[in-house]
Assembly symmetry: D2
Amino acid sequence: MIKNAIVSAETIIKIPFHDVDMMRIAWHGHYVKYFEVARCELLDELEYDYISMVNSGYAWPVIDLHIRYAKPATFEKYIIVTSAVVEYENRLKIQYEIHDEKSGDRLTKGHTVQVAVDIKTNEMCFASPQILLDKLGVE
Amino acid sequence: MIKNAIVSAETIIKIPFHDVDMMRIAWHGHYVKYFEVARCELLDELEYDYISMVNSGYAWPVIDLHIRYAKPATFEKYIIVTSAVVEYENRLKIQYEIHDEKSGDRLTKGHTVQVAVDIKTNEMCFASPQILLDKLGVE
Amino acid sequence: MIKNAIVSAETIIKIPFHDVDMMRIAWHGHYVKYFEVARCELLDELEYDYISMVNSGYAWPVIDLHIRYAKPATFEKYIIVTSAVVEYENRLKIQYEIHDEKSGDRLTKGHTVQVAVDIKTNEMCFASPQILLDKLGVE
Amino acid sequence: MIKNAIVSAETIIKIPFHDVDMMRIAWHGHYVKYFEVARCELLDELEYDYISMVNSGYAWPVIDLHIRYAKPATFEKYIIVTSAVVEYENRLKIQYEIHDEKSGDRLTKGHTVQVAVDIKTNEMCFASPQILLDKLGVE
């Protein structure tokens, strides 16, 4: 479980052949894709996916990414990516944890931070727009 | 040299770590990226890159891709990608050959076929638009 | 259905955000990954996956790839990749068809060809080794 | 310039078409590749690349990654990736800064942390092995 989760989701991913490097483990850069897939699923559940974001007048670029690798993932291993919104007032911070589906071992954790950018003015918003709060069901 | 080349270009690429699979060779799917980089360089020379294409009113989706692998490429190997326009009347066919920069061995060859699609109508063009002929300097 | 299929499999893939290009469609090169995921699933069903291949003394590099693109796939679209072994005597040829999960439209088709390489001698085999025939349940 | 750099390198990369997302900017996950290419170049200069690492008896997995995005990079933009070793005693910490080649604007910065793992015992080393210090020319 991710602490202080306002809303969370779980995504299962199978490590494909083309993600495995010559050390026979998933190359560390591919975890950003695993986070992306998990985040999209979480945002889908909130009914605030990329298309809805653009339609609501805001882009939400990622401005910060952190990943901490504890154990490697190997070819065809199933991993569970848990993602959770942990901050929303001024920026959208999502926390991730990746566990081995079989052993339950925690392999990786990390976070991304996104900020709202008004598409018309191209200005960064210092407070998250009302639409995000509505989607999260918070005040 | 590519036969029947109307115009051609050469691009040098160094195989990066994240392209090498657990067989210790560049995964076969990454060659599509090497072709893409080479094609962009060729189109840049013609002053008909993606942005110019869109500005001219046409998208040029790839409708056909073929790659023939003869020898593998390994980590940090330098490869030379030769690309050449070999057909243009009804479709844009580009041929590729990849050689090992050091040994001169031919590693791979292939082609892509693109067709013009009118962005306004979303209709495929059965003959290439005049703009392509102008850029190629043919009649 | 793929004609002359000796054995086949179906794989569902959701187009992720990072596969979609600025034309708002899945970049044509990513289909090689979709084929790879489908092929691994097919080979898993045959109990002749990459690890088993290596353990049996053979590598099976892809020597030929062909993709024919009919219609594009967009962000978050679900696609069904059907893969089938259509040749095995001298080389392993797998045919692929990709359909839109919702509309049923065929988006793409293609094939890959692999040949057995004896890992000890690094020699290409002109006839497929007995192990492949055993796994396929053919004589 | 990166502060406290023990040794540094500069790498120029051109943003390829397949790295650009539907927001028309390089997808944030691709920066891990830009860091990887820069790190390999830096390690090549130290004559301690992946192959030398393995030959010296150590693997150096990345255990921590951080990226801070300030400004986006667009299609065909040239970026300069500066990488520098900033810590080596107990772990190998490399800092990165990415600048727009034309405007000089800083687009991104980040770091990676790697630790030595003894390949024979698969144990993590709490102090960096002598070979790294020798390659860095420090005591």
